[in-house]
């Protein structure tokens, strides 16, 4: 069943969303190739056959031909109308989520994807889904525009601050597929990757069970889980190396110089302020690119994070 342009597309791992797209992709490519070959042959043939022989060459006066004009207007028009209808129906299918779809909440922010499940399970940059079941991902953004793109499933939608958007798909084989952010969002836009991990249905239930119930343990343990789920380490290392933001290593009671020249000693209040309003006191040598966490973490969660940060030395 190989088609000429198969090499251009990634594997189709969600036939319910990808089949129509792929069919149309191949159709347009093949028709275009026929036209392009025709045009190219005509160009080369005319260039050789009607090559100028002398400066006095006489050419016939052919001003126009209405039959030809109508032919090469109407035939392409009919073809593009087919393309329109085909693309439209495929797109309607991408918009129409099956009723029994399993819902997962996704949040995009600079520069991570956070996924939340019905039983409180949370993951960072890993979307776990069961095989053979339609999945609806409901998405929101905390800061700027992002776009959620899974090439293997041929689905994509912008993630817009202030509104919910969604995609759906149904993975038909276990394994992994890459998720890209495709709306430019700053420094680490190209690192805002995640992956879909497709499980057998019972395996998925086990995984969900295991990770459900939310965050537990001592305050330090909870803080550590929060830091990892929020993806703080995308920008803040714990080994002392500078990344987009200052390192967490030895942060507690460190004296920090700020961009305005003043200094501050890192204590509970500074950490709290920097999480809620990152732009207020920016460490010298860094730019503020962090999304504010105001209204997104509870006071208890912030306290737990502070407890965890105290332990990184």
């Amino acid at each position: 069943m190989g088609r000429l342009f198969d090499f251009m597309l990634p594997d189709n791992k969600s036939p319910l969303t990808a089949d129509s797209t792929d069919g149309l992709f191949h159709f347009i490519n093949e028709v275009s190739l026929i036209f392009l070959v025709g045009i190219t042959i005509a160009l080369i043939y005319f260039a050789i056959k009607y090559k100028r022989k002398s400066e006095d060459d006489k050419t016939p006066v052919i001003t126009h031909n209405n039959t030809l004009e109508i032919t090469w207007s109407v035939i392409p028009l009919l073809i593009v109308m087919v393309v329109f209808g085909w693309g439209y129906s495929g797109w309607l299918n991408l918009k129409a989520v099956p009723n029994d779809a399993y819902e997962i909440q996704a949040t995009g922010y600079k520069w991570n994807w956070n996924f939340n499940y019905e039983n409180g399970a949370q993951t960072l940059n890993e979307l776990h889904v069961p095989k053979g079941r339609p999945i609806k991902v409901v998405m929101q953004s905390r800061d700027v525009l992002h776009s959620f793109f899974i090439p293997d499933y041929r689905v994509k939608h912008d993630v817009v601050p202030g509104r919910y958007t969604y995609v759906w798909f149904q993975a038909e084989e276990t394994g992994e597929s890459v998720i890209f952010c495709t709306e430019y969002c700053g420094t680490s836009h190209s690192d805002m990757l995640a992956k879909v991990i497709v499980h057998e249905p019972d395996e998925f239930e086990q995984w969900l069970e295991l990770n459900g119930g939310g965050i537990q343990g001592t305050p330090v343990e909870q803080g550590e889980q929060l830091v990892s789920l929020q993806g703080c380490q995308t920008c803040h290392s714990i080994d002392g190396s500078p990344k987009i933001g200052p390192t967490f290593k030895g942060i507690w009671e460190r004296e920090q110089q700020l961009t305005d020249g003043s200094t501050v000693v890192v204590d509970e209040n500074y950490i709290r302020e920097s999480i809620l309003y990152p732009g207020n006191k920016v460490v010298a040598g860094y730019q503020n690119v962090m999304s504010p966490y105001e209204g997104r973490l509870s006071d208890d969660e912030i306290t737990n994070i502070i407890e965890y940060l105290k332990t990184i030395n």
Partner: protein
């Protein structure tokens, strides 16, 4: 007064004016010196200054492209940081669009050629013309000010809310630069529309208008109608950034998708501002080097206007994944396919023009052939992106990057090169080295396809655009593309070399080296300060190669030359239309 004179003119006395092959007085010998150039109102000098400015920005933005491609040689860091990379691609895009593509053909070549093809002494508002050049320079200064104040990394599209969050000073400076630049574009458009309506030489009726003029006419209409929307959008963006008025930023209660609507309402028609003038050049060159009447004159002329019109109604096809309403998405997709039809009509008519022609593969014609091939690919891939379901997969990937480079570079820039080589002898009075020109054209063809064909493949496989790092599987495509860009760079250096060399040691150009029937060729090379030292009279279509050359060299027997005669020729014009 005018009427009595008009009646006399119905028995107009014309005689043949054969252009001198050894002109002593040309626009280059008149008004010499830096100050004279800076204050000139001569459309030819202004056109040349535009050409130099556009070439400067093209070199700069092209150099950035080479730097970007070099960085993409490896999946991780090659030699610059992510933030630098993000600034460079933004600058590359913004400069190529606003400083190169938009003004390239109309303001540079159009300024030089349009009055000559109309047999006019200048554009209708020569001082406005000079003002537009200075406004362009002011826009450029603002852009450099943006760089000095920390740069900007928003992408050339300035999408909110990212553009409100990132380095505000840089974004404000550059958007104001673009705002100012817009006025330059509007003034050029206004000038051209008026000139085409009012300053046509006796006998140039609307059905004898060169197709280049039709194309510039359609372009000017878009420039005048669409650019103000960009200006308003940028003002709103600045209000938001400076005064925190919530328009586009959801944090202030605004709507980011609204910005995209506003932005593309200008920026999609702007695509036609860039490409339609290229269509004009193709029509001129293909007719001259086939020595043949253009096939389907009206089909080509009116399809330019159709594109200009429908082009206003398709902006939403940039937003299929954005969250705009489903009805809007459907309608925009439908209309997008309609705009493809007039474009297809043009291509078929050009190919039909070649049929039974006398085809001379000189450099400009070689570029036309390259254009027809590359632009066709650009068109077909545009159909692909117009198809709703497929666009969902391809949107914001390298497929889109490849598509618009095939249209903008394979289309507009190749057409510009065709026009530049075609009119170079007229503009400078010198011939360039034909052999080097042919070699570089072939190199451009090879380099271009090597750069951008792999981008279609990796884009369809999922490679997103504006990526500093990428996953390993795309490495071979990126490396092929990078090598292609180096070939392109070399080809452009060769072009720069032989064009500059021709100015110093090029063979002297005859007045009409290609034996064209176009009116602009019936002047000396380079042209007289007033373009013609007579008032040209036109009795044939611009592509009537079956008629003898003498009939294309007519002018009023009684000289109306001199500054006062402008009124006289305007009257003559009216009578011709009434008679």
């Amino acid at each position: 007064m005018a009427i009595t004179e008009a009646k006399k003119m119905t028995t107009l006395q014309v005689k043949r004016f054969k252009p001198s092959e050894n002109p002593t007085n040309t626009f280059l010998t008149d008004e010499k010196g830096v100050w004279a150039w800076m204050t000139t109102v001569d459309h030819k000098k202004i056109g040349i200054m535009y050409l130099v400015a556009v070439a400067f920005f093209f070199a700069l933005a092209g150099f950035l492209a080479i730097a970007l491609r070099t960085e993409l040689w490896t999946p991780a860091k090659t030699f610059i940081e992510a933030d630098t990379y993000n600034q460079l691609f933004t600058l590359h895009g913004a400069m190529m669009v606003f400083f190169v593509l938009v003004p390239s053909i109309p303001a540079a070549l159009g300024n030089f050629i349009l009055p000559m093809q109309l047999g006019a002494k200048d554009v209708a508002f020569p001082r406005l013309n000079l003002a537009s050049l200075y406004i362009y320079v002011a826009g450029a200064i603002f852009t450099f000010a943006a760089l000095a104040s920390g740069g900007f990394d928003t992408g050339w599209t300035f999408y909110t809310p990212y553009s409100s969050d990132s380095n505000a000073a840089g974004v404000i400076w550059v958007t104001l630069g673009v705002f100012i630049l817009g006025f330059s574009s509007i003034l050029t458009g206004t000038n051209f529309i008026t000139t085409i309506h009012k300053l046509r030489a006796p006998g140039i009726t609307w059905d004898r208008l060169p197709l280049n003029i039709w194309a510039l006419y359609a372009t000017s209409i878009i420039q005048v109608l669409a650019t103000p929307v960009l200006a308003i959008t940028i003002l709103l963006l600045s209000f938001e950034n400076i005064m925190d008025i919530g328009i586009f930023d959801p944090a202030l209660g605004g709507d980011p998708v609204l910005f995209q609507h506003f932005f593309w309402f200008y920026s999609h028609p702007a695509v036609y501002i860039m490409i339609v003038p290229g269509f004009g050049i193709i029509s001129e060159v293909i007719s001259t080097f086939s020595k043949k009447t253009v096939f389907g004159y009206w089909a080509i002329a009116l399809s330019s206007l159709a594109i200009a019109f429908i082009g206003f109604l398709v902006w939403g096809h940039h937003m299929f994944t954005s969250g705009q309403s489903a009805v809007a998405t459907t309608v925009f997709s439908f209309l997008t396919f309609l705009v493809g039809i007039p474009t297809g009509i043009k291509i078929f008519n050009w190919i039909a023009t070649l049929y039974r022609g006398s085809i001379d593969m000189k450099t400009p014609m070689l570029y036309v052939f390259i254009f027809l091939f590359l632009f066709s690919i650009g068109g077909f891939t545009g159909i692909m992106l117009g198809a709703l379901s497929v666009d969902i997969h391809l949107h914001d990937t390298y497929y889109v990057v490849a598509h618009f480079h095939y249209v903008m570079m394979g289309g507009t820039l190749i057409a510009l090169l065709a026009g530049l080589h075609y009119w170079w002898p007229k503009m400078t009075g010198k011939m360039y080295n034909e052999k080097l020109a042919q070699i570089s054209a072939v190199l451009i063809f090879i380099g271009f396809n090597m750069t951008f064909l792999p981008q279609f493949i990796m884009g369809a496989q999922g490679m997103p655009r504006r990526y500093y790092n990428y996953i390993d599987q795309f490495t071979p495509f990126h490396q092929t593309s990078t090598i292609g860009s180096y070939i392109l760079g070399v080809a452009f250096l060769i072009i720069l070399y032989y064009l500059v060399k021709s100015l110093y040691s090029g063979e002297k150009a005859p007045s009409n080296p290609w034996n064209s029937r176009g009116l602009e060729w019936q002047s000396t090379s380079p042209p007289d300060f007033h373009n013609f030292d007579h008032t040209p009279v036109v009795i044939n279509g611009p592509y009537d190669y079956h008629k003898p050359m003498e009939e294309f060299q007519l002018g009023l027997a009684v000289s109306h030359n001199g500054h006062d005669a402008e009124h006289a020729s305007a009257d003559v014009n009216k009578t011709e239309e009434k008679a």
